[in-house]
């Protein structure tokens, strides 16, 4: 009976080695080697990257977080935004992304606390850039209280960049 190796060796298919230009044969090897190295690098990078992109570390934490959102006005006054609604805007409608939905409630930290805090940081900037009708808020502030794998509470404060007020 022919073995798998024999079946391969006896092949004379249209893509067999001798019919292909050398640069394609070598190119395939270099390409495959590059993919292997890149994938291993991404896996290693997952141990320092909060989001562990392409590092395949699902269900890495069982952490929770809750956010106290506040607007800081031009005069320095800090105004709480308890349900994410202010001046006709709604956090949930604007952000509209599951992991950051209703963050004022205790939520599971999707992909871990560090990833959520990083996304929240960018979300505050995005809010600052996409709420032109808000003419009062200088910047956004979020006080994040989190439990990392049920240990805590830990608190961290993040804020958006400053907004330009009193435009044209």
């Amino acid at each position: 009976m022919a073995t798998a190796a024999d079946a391969v060796a006896e092949s004379t298919g249209p893509q067999a080695g001798p019919n292909r230009p050398l640069w394609r044969l070598r190119g395939a090897r270099w390409f495959a080697a590059a993919v292997v190295v890149a994938q291993l690098a991404l896996v290693a990078n997952g141990y320092r990257d909060a989001h562990n992109y392409f590092a395949f570390q699902p269900f890495n934490e069982s952490s929770t977080y809750a956010v106290e959102l506040a607007r800081v006005l031009d005069d320095g006054q800090r105004v709480a935004v308890p349900n994410g609604r202010w001046e006709g805007y709604d956090w949930n409608e604007l952000i509209d992304w599951g992991p950051l939905r209703s963050p004022w409630r205790q939520r599971h930290a999707f992909s871990g606390v560090d990833a959520v805090v990083d996304f929240l940081d960018h979300a505050l900037d995005w809010m600052a850039d996409n709420t032109p009708g808000d003419t009062e808020t200088r910047y956004w502030e979020a006080t994040v209280t989190y439990y990392r794998n049920a240990r805590g509470p830990h608190v961290t404060v993040i804020r958006s960049h400053d907004r330009e007020l009193g435009g044209p």
Partner: protein, 359 residues
Amino acid sequence: MTATTSSVAAAHRPDRFHRWLSDVFDQPASVRGAAVLRIVLGPCVIWHLRPFLADALDGITYHDRFQQPWWAWYPNAPEGLYVALLWIGVAAAVLMTVGWWSRIATWVAFAVVAYNLFLSQTHFHHNRAFLVILLAGVALCDNGRALSLDALRRPPPDDRALVWPIWLLRFEAAVVYFASGFSKLIDPDWVGGRVLHDRSVRYQNEVRDALGDTLADPVLEVVTARAFHWVLSPAAVATELFIAFGLWFRRTRLVAVWVAVAFHVGIEVTSHVQVFSVIAIGALALWAVPSTRDRTLVTPSRWVRWLDWMARFDITVTPGASWCMVDRDGTVLEGREARQFVRTRLPATFLFSRFWRYR
């Protein structure tokens, strides 16, 4: 004597390595595994694009919600073009499944799914990353040579093509299990059961909703017990690592496939992971030995032909004959033994067969 033996062995090592490299990169073999995966990936692409399409039908795209670009230079498609691309992805997925313009369709589906993934970091999920990788690997392979309309319209001489993309996909699939298992192994909170225990306690209401009080009480008593997770968590880690390594070796491969299927079904039941379970089970087809019809089978049953998707057997149906199977190494099995062996090699029946007798 020992020194001579080892130097001879060392001299043969590069030869074996070069032969392996040549087998992997230069010699064609069956691409049926990639074809099976192509068929599985088609519906998964549609399933994956479905929420984006549903939003698009409501007039919402990524432009209308929080997004976190990966790179500043990455092109943002205007709303109309973006929606058109999603529909093109769906069309490509349908063509992939039926195998019409198989390879082009797979490249197009890959391009749409990858473009969508890299529009915003908020689109990232591990299962989507794995989907993109699998699509790329299958597209690199001449996957239309088997199980496709392409093969029906213009029958190729055989189902063989270069299989280095399959080896690359095997590596990627193994990395997914290894990276997941190893990261948990070195995390004391995970391997010690803290992570899973905390999740079980937090989501016990969902178990109660799903099972009802009478059934949920005894189940929850077990799954919310701390001691249960001292066992479950290391077992989950060991399972992932076993699959990562077990798939590479012929003696453990079938067991690893069986464990992987059970593992993914378990994950899907307890935590919904979008397309991950289905594509991971589909990717197990890549581990089939890339040769076809190299075992001969005489059988009275027609059903074997219908269930032999991986073309493991050269089948002769003879009404009234008894079962007889000749394996790759010349081993002859007859009657009940042959029938049981065949069941271990058919995708639809191997899960229910006594595979440990026929590794």
